[in-house]
């Protein structure tokens, strides 16, 4: 199957974008990922990943309306594209097919 390669972190970001469904922007994604994964990632990593995803056509973005809370600066909201969603599904399917074949091997206690 040919598709764009997606790194683990990109996949996480893409999933978060999908989950937040239209309310995804830098800080929201940062908090979401940090909360879900218990990691301490940086904002610039999120931005870099978002830009790569957008270049690959897996997310689309649009500027929001100005709000008072960040000095009148607008947010950029990200939305997953059908292509992005399909990619996520592909990944999941592959994993599922592996998991379904996994017959919990006997773990050698000596190991």
């Amino acid at each position: 199957m040919k598709r764009n390669y997606l790194g683990e972190f990109e996949e996480l970001v893409l999933l978060s974008v999908a989950v937040l469904d239209g309310k995804a922007y830098g800080v929201a994604l940062l908090q979401e990922i940090n909360a879900q994964t218990d990691r301490n990632i940086q904002l610039n990593q999120v931005h870099a990943a978002l830009q790569r995803l957008e270049d690959k056509g897996m997310v689309a973005s649009a500027m929001g309306e100005p709000t008072a809370e960040r000095g009148g600066r607008r947010k950029r909201f990200f939305q997953i594209t059908p292509y992005g969603l399909r990619t996520l599904e592909d990944i999941q399917n592959i994993r599922n097919s592996f998991w379904s074949r996994l017959d919990y091997p006997k773990i050698d206690p000596s190991l």
């Binding site: 922007y25 830098g26 800080v27 940062l30 908090q31 940086q42 904002l43 610039n44 990593q45 931005h47 870099a48 830009q51 790569r52 500027m63 809370e69 960040r70 000095g71 600066r73 607008r74 947010k75 950029r76």
Partner: protein
């Protein structure tokens, strides 16, 4: 957003300001809003979580994290211009640069000419300095080679003395006692013992050879020399062996492969046979030890004397070198050396009432610290002198760069339109800067391209100015090319950057609206004036410097030295010293009618005086003794050199007839004062010296002479005396001559010489020339300053000329109207010249104190020196103004004489 309860809503915490600025600077504009917004939002969350301080740190780390291509890269637009460094653009720059140069031939040639001269200067100095600093770098253990230097206290006029040599036994003792010393070697220069030359005899041909050193057999294991024949490790093992330079081998044997050939040498001893065991040349690199030949220490005469010498205090004549083991601690070794000196020579030192400290000097630093100590092996230089040369060369190049800046900005109105059109069709500032910089780079490269062959052609002449003797080895020496490239880049950037930034800053709108440059035009004119002033400050400092150095040199040469140096000839009879032939020769020469008087000396004034002794008067002891330097002379010495006698009598023939137990001496005033003897009581007084073996030497003062400057006049006169010596033992014969036809006189003496000493080449010297040679360094300095002054003036005037042409062009109409209204040519010339002459005057006012300071720094090294009088500044100023005025006048007169109809009719 919720705020922490203790925070008032008004004081919203702010991220660090400079992190913000940094972000705003690098971040692509189309991303800035969202990134900054996200950052601020997240920052407030962090403040609540971590507190302000740590949140600010967090913010800073985040901003740094954004410093990545994805955030920096600007959004491409369909109208973007190509990069300023695109190959097509670079080709375009060069194209435009060449077009501009060929369009403005006058300005281009003024610039290129100035830059070429400056570059020749700079390049030569850079290569010269690099060559001077390359000395002794080629030895395999270069960084582990050290020389012992000696610091003496309680001696001489100043009370201390630094010698580049030390006592003979130190080398061997250090080698056995200190594990750090891998190799120790000594060098003895026979010149210090009055052996100024050797007579070499090969078959029936004879040659005088000057520089030869006695060295220990470890010498070639310490230093690396390139041997074209022989084995360096064993060359000096056997007595009577000699290692000669390639040049000497060719001179003596017509071949560099002179191994095992024999030479009869008369120097310290008569007619010894030496066998050539090695031939070396200087191909490995420069070194401060580059004599014509090396002889082993294991030889008779001076070699025996050095090897058997066990003096630890005096006899500081042996140049001692160590090769240390890697990782040796120099400070520790220095302390250990001085402990050793105290242990072995402490008693001797106390007896001679001397304090002596030994130091270790890196061999690589020897050549460039030549003025630090006395008894130099070879002519070196000083870091100070090299740095000063570099400074002056830099200034000269700066003067040439200023020309480019001034001429480019002065003509900026002409190019304003070009800049406007370029900007209107989309040239960015960086493109314009690159455009103008490439013009200056083309100019500089042209100049450098012209300068390189010129330096090669002019090298002998330039070497004559600096007294240097180095050849350019461009092919081998990668450094030279690096220097040239660096110089070209630096010059291009310095001269081009200001015009580039200035010209590219024009606002196209104001250019097209009024055809006037913006208000910064006056700023540029102001800067132009300041640059002209700084050019002439440099030129004026150099003019004052040239005048002062010249005057000081003349002062040194013309100052009464206490003896008459004019019309004195010197014949050296060192080869036959001690034989009765000396007397015969003297008698035959003094019989010549042209010879008024004739005296023999061991060292004539101006020659190095090697002997000294500690003496004390009656009632004193060695603790009150003074070190007095002395030479041997006969009873004709005072008369021949016209030295004044203050008290007592001259030597009598019986004083010098034979060696007497109690020496007769004539001491100088300084020695008298140092010994604390009253003038009237001096004649007949006995002064004494205790020897280490318990004996005492006694000297009777028969007379007191006036102080004579027997050394360079940068030194105050040392205590000095002449010791009555037997005529046959006085090798330097000084003749007071009264002749109109020197050639005839020299012929006559030569006839006598050839009759008496057919196997020894005839040579003679003039005392005034020998004295002048003492000031070789000053003469070189004077020549360099003169040359630099000329060049600085020339380049400054080129620039001034260009500016005058420009000013004249701009004021053509004004001049025309003035002329119609009745102004004379004189009026108009003055009008145009005034602006420039005022600048030069300001320059002189600024230059005078700078010159005063720098020159006093130089003068303070001389015990006898001139005062810098006020009229020197006026004279220098006069010269600068005159030159500037004449330069400007060439233009203004042409303009003032032009027919006003022509200037007024056009347009």
């Amino acid at each position: 957003m919720s705020h922490a309860p203790n925070q008032t809503p008004k004081q919203v915490p702010k991220p660090p300001r400079w992190a913000e600025s940094f972000l705003e600077w690098f971040c692509a504009p189309h991303l800035l809003e969202e990134i900054q917004g996200d950052l601020h939002e997240a920052f407030l969350i962090e403040v609540n979580k971590l507190g302000l301080k740590r949140a600010q740190f967090w913010y800073f780390r985040e901003v740094l994290g954004f410093f990545r291509p994805f955030a920096i890269r600007r959004k491409p637009t369909p109208y973007s211009s190509p990069s300023a460094f695109h190959p097509t653009m670079i080709r375009n720059y060069l194209n435009i640069a060449f077009r501009n140069l060929s369009k403005n031939r006058l300005f281009a040639s003024l610039n290129v000419f100035g830059l070429t001269i400056g570059t020749i200067c700079c390049l030569y100095i850079l290569l010269y300095v690099q060559n001077e600093r390359s000395y002794d770098q080629h030895h395999a253990a270069a960084d582990r080679l050290y020389r012992i230097t000696t610091e003496l206290k309680n001696i001489g006029a100043t009370g201390e003395e630094f010698l580049n040599s030390c006592s003979p036994p130190i080398a061997a003792a250090a080698k056995t006692e200190f594990p750090e010393v891998e190799m120790a070697t000594r060098m003895v220069n026979p010149e210090l013992f009055g052996i100024e030359r050797y007579l070499f005899k090969v078959d029936d041909r004879v040659f005088y050879e000057k520089t030869g050193y006695l060295v220990d057999s470890t010498f070639f294991k310490t230093f690396d020399y390139h041997f074209i024949a022989g084995n360096p490790a064993k060359a000096l093992d056997a007595p009577q062996s000699i290692v000669i330079s390639e040049a000497l081998a060719i001179k003596l044997f017509n071949t560099p492969y002179a191994l095992n050939k024999t030479i009869n040498i008369t120097g310290q001893l008569a007619d010894e046979v030496f066998k050539v065991t090695g031939v070396f040349n200087g191909n490995l690199g420069n070194t401060h030890l580059m004599p014509d030949f090396f002889m082993p220490m294991n030889s008779r005469g001076l070699g025996d004397f050095t090897r058997q010498d066990n003096t630890w205090a005096g006899n500081n004549f042996a140049y001692t070198y160590f090769k240390l083991r890697p990782g040796s601690n120099i400070q520790v070794l220095e302390t250990k050396l001085n402990d050793l000196l105290e242990h072995r020579g402490g008693d001797q030192l106390r007896q001679m009432k001397m304090k002596k400290i030994l130091h270790l000097q890196p061999v690589i630093a020897i050549h460039t610290s030549a003025t630090d100590g006395k008894l130099d092996v070879s002519k070196g230089t000083s870091e100070r002198f090299l740095n000063m040369l570099l400074l002056i060369a830099g200034f000269i190049q700066l003067v040439a760069c200023i020309n480019f800046m001034n001429l480019s900005t002065a003509r900026s109105t002409r190019r304003a339109k070009e800049v406007g059109v370029r900007k209107a069709v989309g040239a960015g500032r960086s493109t314009l800067i690159a455009q103008f910089l490439s013009e200056s780079m083309v100019m500089t490269l042209l100049a450098v391209g012209l300068a390189i062959p010129l330096v090669i052609v002019l090298l002998p002449w330039l070497n004559e100015i600096t007294g240097a003797d180095f050849r350019l080895n461009m092919v081998q020496n990668g450094w030279s090319w690096a220097i040239i490239l660096g110089l070209a880049l630096l010059t291009g950037i310095i001269s081009g950057s200001y015009p580039a930034f200035y010209l590219s800053s024009f606002n196209p709108l104001s250019i097209f609206r009024g055809m006037k440059t913006n208000k910064s035009g006056s700023g540029a004119a102001y800067l132009r004036k300041s640059l002209v002033i700084s050019q002439f400050v440099i030129a004026s400092v150099l003019i004052i410097g040239a005048l002062v150095v010249q005057r000081q040199l003349n002062y040194l040469l013309q100052q009464d030295m206490g003896f008459d140096k004019n019309q004195k000839m010197i014949f050296s009879l060192q080869m036959v010293q001690g034989s009765p032939e000396v007397e015969t020769f003297r008698n035959r020469v003094s019989a010549l009618p042209e010879i008024k008087a004739l005296a023999g000396m061991s060292a004539y004034p101006g020659q190095f005086v090697p002997n000294d002794i500690s003496l004390y008067p009656e009632g004193g002891n060695m603790n009150t003794a003074q070190i007095i330097r002395f030479a041997f002379a006969d009873e004709h010495f005072l008369k021949t050199l016209k030295i004044g006698l203050l008290a007592g009598r001259n030597f009598l023939p019986q004083d010098t007839a034979q060696t007497i137990q109690e020496g007769r001496v004539i001491i100088n005033e300084t020695a008298l004062k140092k010994l604390g003897i009253q003038l009237e009581r001096a004649p007949g007084m006995v002064i004494k010296s205790d020897r280490a073996d318990g004996n005492q030497f006694h000297y009777t003062i028969v007379g007191v002479m006036k102080d004579i400057n027997f050394e360079r006049m940068s030194e105050a006169v040392d205590p000095y005396m002449v010791y009555a010596g037997q005529v046959r033992n006085l090798p330097q014969v000084v003749a007071d001559v009264n002749a109109n036809d020197y050639a005839a006189l020299i012929k006559k003496v030569q006839v006598i010489w050839n009759e008496m000493f057919p196997s020894i080449p005839f040579e003679y010297k003039f005392l005034d020339q020998e004295v002048a040679n003492l000031y070789q360094a000053e003469q070189v300095f004077s020549r360099i300053v003169n040359a630099f002054t000329m060049i600085a003036i020339l380049i400054s005037c080129l620039g001034l000329f260009g500016l005058a042409v420009f000013a004249a062009e701009q004021r053509t109409k004004e001049i025309g109207i003035r002329k119609v209204l009745g102004a004379s040519v004189g009026n108009l010339t003055a009008l145009l010249a005034k602006d420039f002459v005022i600048l030069v005057m300001v320059a002189i006012v600024i230059a005078s104190p700078i010159a005063w300071y720098l020159l006093n720094l130089w003068l303070k090294d001389f015990a006898y020196r001139i005062q810098i009088e006020w009229w020197l500044y006026l004279l220098a100023g006069g010269i600068a103004i005159l030159v500037a005025f004449l330069t400007v006048c060439t233009q203004s007169i042409r303009l003032a004489r032009a027919n006003p109809i022509q200037s007024l009719r056009s347009e």
